[in-house]
Amino acid sequence: MHLRLAAPSALAIVLPTALAFLATAAPAAAHGIVGDRFFPATLITDDPAVADELTVPQVDAFRTGDEPPNTEVDISGEWDKRLTTNFGVSFDGTWTELKTPGGGTVTGFQNFGTTFKYQVLTDAPHELMIAVGLDTEWGGTGSAKVGADAATTLTPNFYFGKGANDLPDSLWWAKPFALTGVIGYAVPLAHEPRALQSGFALEYSFRYLSSHVRDIGLPTVINQLTPLVEVQLTTPIANRMPSTGTINPGIIWSGNRVQFGLEAMAPINRASGHAIGAVFQVHWFLDDMFPHSIGRPIW
């Protein structure tokens, strides 16, 4: 007598596996989602999330702090890739065009950069995100003509993001506010001054207002807006050079797979620039565009 064991069908294997995966899927952490809070990718300061994202293009145009000032246009891009759910790496590059007062124009790449980031804490009840990272600007990979440094610079960074959901209900209108920031200590691997680099973004999320606090009847396209003010500062350590930086009021529109950002760039002093500049960014959510391939963590 021959016993024949029925082979399980492909459906019988695949279906329970898929159901088990779906049932245990964790809340999304990509592009800064913690509980009800969505931290958009900010334009000039890095946000605290580890994500699969692509920034291309980002275009900055401004007049430099040189005397006399140059007119500078930067076109940059950045690819952020999750290696694990909480650990990622990013690669960035910037192409610069400098127009000098005498009519000359020089072009070239800035140094290329790499950043490793680890998301230490994601606390949904308090809408809190904390991450640490190490940014490396690879000296000598860019063109000295446009100011790229010959020395490599390492910058350990501390990132945070905090929503204002802990405010009392009487301040319901303020709950959509959130603050994100990054503080880093730039250490050139040469005899050059070190610097404290800091950046903060104060944001107001209409999406949070309509979906969590109070729907005041705004259309969906408005609910996808996040007005914000970013501040970026570089403070030299151990010399008397002034801090430089910009204050950037602007707005971000976040769609399902892409966001657009536009900000003015107001220099904080003459050493930071000579006129109000502008920055525009297109930012792609790769985890939403390609959730089953390049938008997933590798491990």
């Binding site: 779906l22 609910n223 939403d288 565009m289």
Partner: protein
Amino acid sequence: MVSRLRILVIAALAAALAPLAVEAHAFLDKADPRVGSMVARAPPAVRLKFTQGIVVPFCRLTVTGPPGFGGAGAPHAIAGDPLSLAVDLKGPTPPGTYVVRWRALSVDTHVTEGDFSFQVKPQVSQ
């Protein structure tokens, strides 16, 4: 340089607006009753509409209310609307604050979650 910049920006915009066949995180778009609203009487059901298609069997939707609230049924789909999720409210539905908690699985397996409240006004006897 300027024309190159224009081409880059136009290409990025065109790509972003192109009808790609992809899905994304399901964020809460609209709710009935409205988020944070005060209504004269409790509706028969709470309905949520998301920004993306959802997998209803793996979504959660609960409603808690004031003392005396009869509770809510199981979340269910709304026929012909792949973006929405609803839960029926059982009577009684007394005045007070109701808290809605949801967890949504989008069709591409991203999970999002959130909560909000609405209020039912006290009945005024005439």
